[in-house]
């Protein structure tokens, strides 16, 4: 069984066609990257697969469950980090973690093994307000909150945008060790150099997937060539 199956997804917002027929599969334990510029439709895919919005056409399964019929069950099984920093800046690091643990009915201690490597890095700032953390730390806290209920599929929408190069490298190292635990990860990024860290990538542009492949060498040149070929 695949972790994610998207079949011919279409979605329009008023006059904008965000998705024009998107199909892909993510295997269990795979790190799958959606690579493309802003407006390519990456966020729309995330929102459909996490049951936040409904597709106009097409079907999809997350963790083997139908995104329309079984949306309540899916919500207990996925971890989601939306594009923007989506924690409470006026709550402290500890308060954020406790709150997100509570909404899944778990405690930090229950799944400590999974989040420990990340949690140890932010633990020194436990009493600091989340809004006062540096970009890299915020992102680690958000990842920690998204993992707290031990999800089987992790959705990361542009987790590294606006974060400095070092924090980005560290973030991808964390994802690599998460992969070891068997979790499936769908991640999007506008940074071409990060694509190399994925098992497979989908190159996206204007609501279409141009190609699905293992990350090629000289990705940017390859992407440009694809874009020119597709007009």
């Amino acid at each position: 069984m695949n972790a994610i199956e998207a079949n011919n997804l279409f979605k329009s917002y008023r006059s904008v066609q965000a998705l024009k027929g998107v199909t892909f599969q993510v295997g269990k334990g795979e790190v799958f990257g959606l690579i493309g510029p802003d407006g390519a439709g990456k966020t729309t895919i995330f929102r459909i697969l996490t049951t936040l919005i409904l597709p106009d056409k097409g079907s999809a399964r997350t963790d083997g469950l139908d995104i329309i019929k079984d949306y309540k069950e899916i919500r207990t099984r996925v971890g989601y980090m939306p594009g923007r920093f989506s924690l409470y800046p006026d709550l402290s690091v500890g308060e954020n973690i406790d709150f997100f643990a509570n909404i899944f009915g778990v405690t930090l201690e229950e799944n400590y093994d999974l989040v420990a490597p990340i949690f140890r890095q932010i633990e020194p700032f436990r009493t600091r307000r989340a809004g006062k953390l540096s970009g890299g730390m915020k992102q680690k806290l958000a990842l920690c909150c998204a993992l707290i209920h031990k999800p089987s599929v992790l959705f990361l929408d542009e987790p590294t945008t606006g974060v400095d190069a070092l924090s980005r490298v560290e973030f991808w190292e964390m994802l690599a060790s998460l992969k070891e635990t068997g979790i499936s990860i769908l991640v999007s990024t506008p940074y071409m150099d990060e694509a190399a860290r994925c098992d497979r990538i989908a190159l996206m542009c204007e609501g279409l997937i141009l190609e699905i492949c293992p990350p090629p060498a000289r990705l940017e040149d390859y992407f440009i060539e694809l874009m020119t070929r597709n007009g």
Binding site: T161, A165, E220
Partner: protein, 239 residues
């Protein structure tokens, strides 16, 4: 050589916290200068001082020939600024945006019209002069934002993460525009998180904890840190 930016021991403290700690450097005319650093390293604070938006606690310097301590207003007239967060007014047309920013810098209507025609011609965008900026694709918005930042022929343009989220083709076009502007004598001061873009700069400085840890051409830095890419240089330096 003619230096457009020259700073000595520039320092900014907020209470007991030193955001920028005695940095010194100069940028010659027409250079593309990459200003890199981790989040919270003090880049934004340093740029604010260079743009005349905040006073240094200590140190001295000139930007476009004006003293950053006493001539902040003149500095503002001679620089251009573009950031990813704020680029252009989406509810105004391309030309209206240029009119606005040209007007802010005291250009006459005639000068603005001529300059706008020239700039739009250069990027083959004259046909979209009266389009609403909000209706344009992101890539074009970013390119136009750069043109608008240079509408008054500034001596220096500050670009704060100008290419965030744009597609690779636009990114290359954007850098072509930057190089053209630099070769015609405009100095470019740019921050970015894309390390491959750092490779396009003439010289690069890397800030950490308020200090400049490294400053040289990308190729020298890569040799010095035995790295294959600027990304590696950055990670090795900051870790």
């Amino acid at each position: 050589m003619d230096n457009v930016i020259e700073v000595r021991n520039l320092t900014k403290r907020f209470g007991s916290f030193t955001a920028v700690d005695a940095i010194s450097f100069e940028v010659p005319k027409g250079e593309i200068f990459g200003f890199l650093g981790a989040n919270g390293a003090g880049k934004t604070t340093a740029i604010r001082m260079l743009c005349g938006l905040s006073f240094p606690t200590e140190g001295s310097g000139t930007v476009a020939g004006f003293d950053i301590m006493t001539q902040g207003e003149q500095i503002k007239r001679h620089i251009g600024y573009m950031s990813q967060r704020f680029s252009l007014y989406g509810d105004l047309t391309v030309f209206e945006n240029m009119q606005l920013f040209g007007g802010i810098y005291g250009m006459s209507e005639k000068q603005i019209a001529a300059r706008a025609a020239e700039l739009l011609e250069k990027v083959q965008f004259s046909g979209h002069r009266n389009d609403l900026v909000g209706s344009l694709p992101l890539g074009w918005k970013q390119k136009l934002a750069f043109l608008v930042a240079t509408v008054h022929n500034p001596e220096i343009v500050f670009l704060d993460e100008p290419t965030g989220g744009v597609d690779p083709i636009t990114r290359r076009q954007f850098w072509t525009m930057i190089r053209e502007a630099a070769s015609s004598g405009t100095t470019i001061f740019v921050t970015t998180h894309y390390m491959d873009e750092a490779g396009y700069c003439n010289r690069v400085s890397i800030m950490m904890d308020g200090r400049i840890k490294a400053l040289d051409t990308p190729s020298v830095l890569m040799k010095e840190y035995k790295a294959e890419s600027m990304n590696e240089v950055f990670v090795k330096l900051c870790r």
